[in-house]
Amino acid sequence: MNAKTPVFSCRDVHVFIGDKEIVKGVDLDVLPGEKHALMGPNGSGKSTLAAALMGHPSYRVEGRISLRGIRVDALAPHERARLGMFLGFQYPVAVPGVTVASYLRAVLTARRGHDIPVREFRKEMDAAFVELDVKKEFVTRYLNDGFSGGEKKRLEILQMLMLQPDFALLDETDSGLDIDALKVVSEGINKAHREDSGLLMVTHYQRILDYVKPDVVHVFMDGRIVRSGGFELAGELESRGYDWLLPETVTAAEGISS
């Protein structure tokens, strides 16, 4: 694999819920080392796209999805994860009765495909806890059970750090975070990101992009990427909102239909 092979790419991806088309054809290439942001108004379908790329069973997906040149669109979510994809959830799910430590050990073992000695695992886990400024007591708490929004998000990024994905999708990671937590979480994301890995942040606001600076910004509206640009595009969206892009979308759609 040479340096120009995208770490993640998708071609002509459509996502359906039942008969309803939510994502209407997305092409995307994320090169090694790149951070991308996918911005769009609420309800544009960007969270659906993120979940569908990870293989959510509720969605029917058409198109090609590749990780490091390997087709993953026919694979189950856990197979994608083991190959190196990661989805950070907007609303992480609680699993009562399962401690954070036993959960982390199980997912780390799954990702690496072999047992990790307890001592080694503890060391890695402790380091990640320090990095994300998560209190030690959390190892014995039940996964996401009774966690605050901020605690959940820290734990998501802690997992990203430990699982070392090649390509991470982060869905609204900044929502529900106060400024201090946002800084810690952003530092964690930057730390987890490597020269050979890719990142796609799905977000409604520009806030997090001040801390995790994207190389490429995409604007996603009504199921499509309607514009892509550099970091400056995020600033433009912040000051002008999304509406100014709307006529283009309409025109483009009309162009196709006529």
Binding site: A51, F86, F89, G97, T99, Y103
Partner: protein, 479 residues
């Protein structure tokens, strides 16, 4: 100690798929018995059992009276009528005595029976972490041991038949005082043809800090096992008793109907743990009740995994002030199984407290029922009770019902009740899958988490075993 502490190795669990009950527990030995009474039950059968045991006259009389009560009482009109209707009392052997005498050394146990208990891991468990063991095979206890130091302290732990022979005065004083013969049809049945079970007496202020265990094994087809257990913890003493049970898989049904009576004297503490894993051709209809005197604590830790139909509602009568009762139970109902379980708390004295935590998992066509009752008597002021029922459903055909009854005769008491039913959700599964766990691993993790509050109350070795059993049960779940 919690299973979470040693970090469940999920991959090993997946390798275990393909193992099944049949291989681990469902095997059976060829029949080689000293006595096998023909099928069916009448006064002749009861007399034969009594004669073989050469027991005192009062017990003989008690048995015959009990049989009349059993015959006269109707079947329960509540519960699963379809399954209850399948019990064919004429197609059961009511007494089978294996060859050989009761041994205090495994080497003296007949080879095939010893092999059975070896496969079930009993001698190994005994060496590692038990203070005493009885092993019952069909109707009789074939092996029995107790640590010498406990015996010297006056702790009595033996099978019920030996108890009646060697300590007739204690047995006569307490037998049937907690669960009268006419309590229900199945307590009458047990009293008529009881055989085996445990007799335990803990002297005042003696703490038995390592568990005593009894293991009940059915081997023959169409077997009826009716063990009778009586545990008396004298003032200020404590004991933890554990029972396990399994049976071979046959196409026709067996019946297990035990009576267990516990008496916790002033400030005594009894914990009674059950891991019931009968094969799915066993009807398990058991009556368990305890008396807790002043300041005493009684805990039933009750795990129901096997059987075709279980009906069991461990009860505690809080008779003395400040007595405390707990029932902590899990039930796992797979396809074709019905776990009808629950608890009964009777607050008969002031300032008594109780807690019921019931968790059930119904998978595929499995059905679980929680049936519970809390009574607070008119004279019992300042009582507190807390009831929590949690049901988890796996698959669309699973079913769960809850029948809580509260009978509260006064107002200055604190009563809490919570009931929840949840399904293993798609979002929960997807979350875990997105981190690399297969669907099976994810479902198993969710189930293990659900039963964690129960598992962490078990000794470590049993916790590990229980998690393995759950893995087996989860095999081939449909989502």
């Amino acid at each position: 100690m919690s299973v979470n502490d040693q970090v469940t190795d999920l991959d090993r669990g997946v390798e275990g798929i393909g193992d099944n009950y049949e291989a681990k527990y469902g095997f059976h030995n060829p029949e080689d018995y000293m006595t096998k009474l023909p099928k069916g039950l009448d006064h002749g059968v009861v007399e034969a059992i009594s004669q073989k045991k050469q027991e005192p006259e009062w017990m003989n009389t008690e048995r015959h009276k009990a049989l009349d009560i059993f015959m006269a009482k109707p079947m329960p009109t509540w519960g699963n009528q379809d399954l209850l209707g399948q019990i064919d009392f004429d197609n059961i052997h009511y007494y089978i005595r294996p060859k050989g005498e009761q041994a205090r050394n495994w080497d003296d146990v007949p080879e095939d029976i010893k092999n059975t208990f070896d496969r079930l891991g009993i001698p190994e468990a005994e060496r590692k972490f038990l203070a005493g063991v009885t092993a019952q095979y069909e109707s009789e206890v074939v092996y029995h041991s107790i640590r010498e130091d406990l015996e010297k302290l006056g702790v009595i732990f033996m099978d019920m038949d030996s108890g009646l022979r060697e300590h007739p005065e204690i047995v006569k004083k307490y037998f049937g005082t907690v669960i009268p013969t006419r309590d229900n049809k199945f307590s009458a049945l047990n009293t008529a043809c009881w055989s085996g079970g445990s007799f335990i007496y803990i002297p005042p202020h003696t703490k038995v800090d390592i568990p005593l265990q009894a293991y009940f094994r059915i081997n023959a087809e169409n077997m009826g096992q009716f063990e009778r257990t009586l545990i008396i913890a004298d003032q200020g003493s404590s004991v933890h008793y554990i029972e396990g049970c399994t049976a071979p898989t046959y196409s026709s049904d067996s019946l297990h109907s035990a009576v267990v009576e516990l008496i916790a004297m002033k400030d005594a503490h009894i914990r009674y743990t059950t891991i019931q894993n009968w094969s799915t051709n066993v009807f398990n209809l058991v009556t368990k009740r305890a008396h807790a005197h002043e300041g005493a604590v009684v805990e039933w830790v009750d795990g129901n995994l096997g059987s075709k139909l279980t009906m069991k509602y461990p009860s505690i009568v809080l008779k003395g002030e400040r007595a405390h009762g707990e029932v902590l139970s899990i039930a796992f109902a797979g396809n074709g199984q019905h776990q009808d379980a629950g608890a009964k708390m009777i607050h008969a004295a002031p300032n008594t407290t109780s807690r019921i935590v019931s968790k059930s998992i119904s998978k595929d066509g499995g059905r679980s029922t929680y049936r519970g009752m809390v009574q607070i008597a008119r004279n019992a002021g300042g009582c507190k009770t807390n009831v929590e029922c949690d049901a988890l459903l796996i698959g669309d055909a699973a079913r769960s019902d809850t029948y809580p009854t509260m009978d509260i005769a006064r107002e200055d008491v604190q009563v809490e009740h919570e009931a929840r039913v949840s399904k293993v959700g798609e979002e929960q599964l997807f979350y875990l899958q997105s981190r690399g766990l297969s669907e099976d691993q994810a479902r198993l993790m969710i189930v293990n988490g659900f039963i964690e509050p129960f598992v962490k109350e078990l000794p470590m070795e049993y916790a590990v075993e229980l998690n393995r059993l759950i893995e087996l049960e989860m095999e081939g779940s449909v989502g």
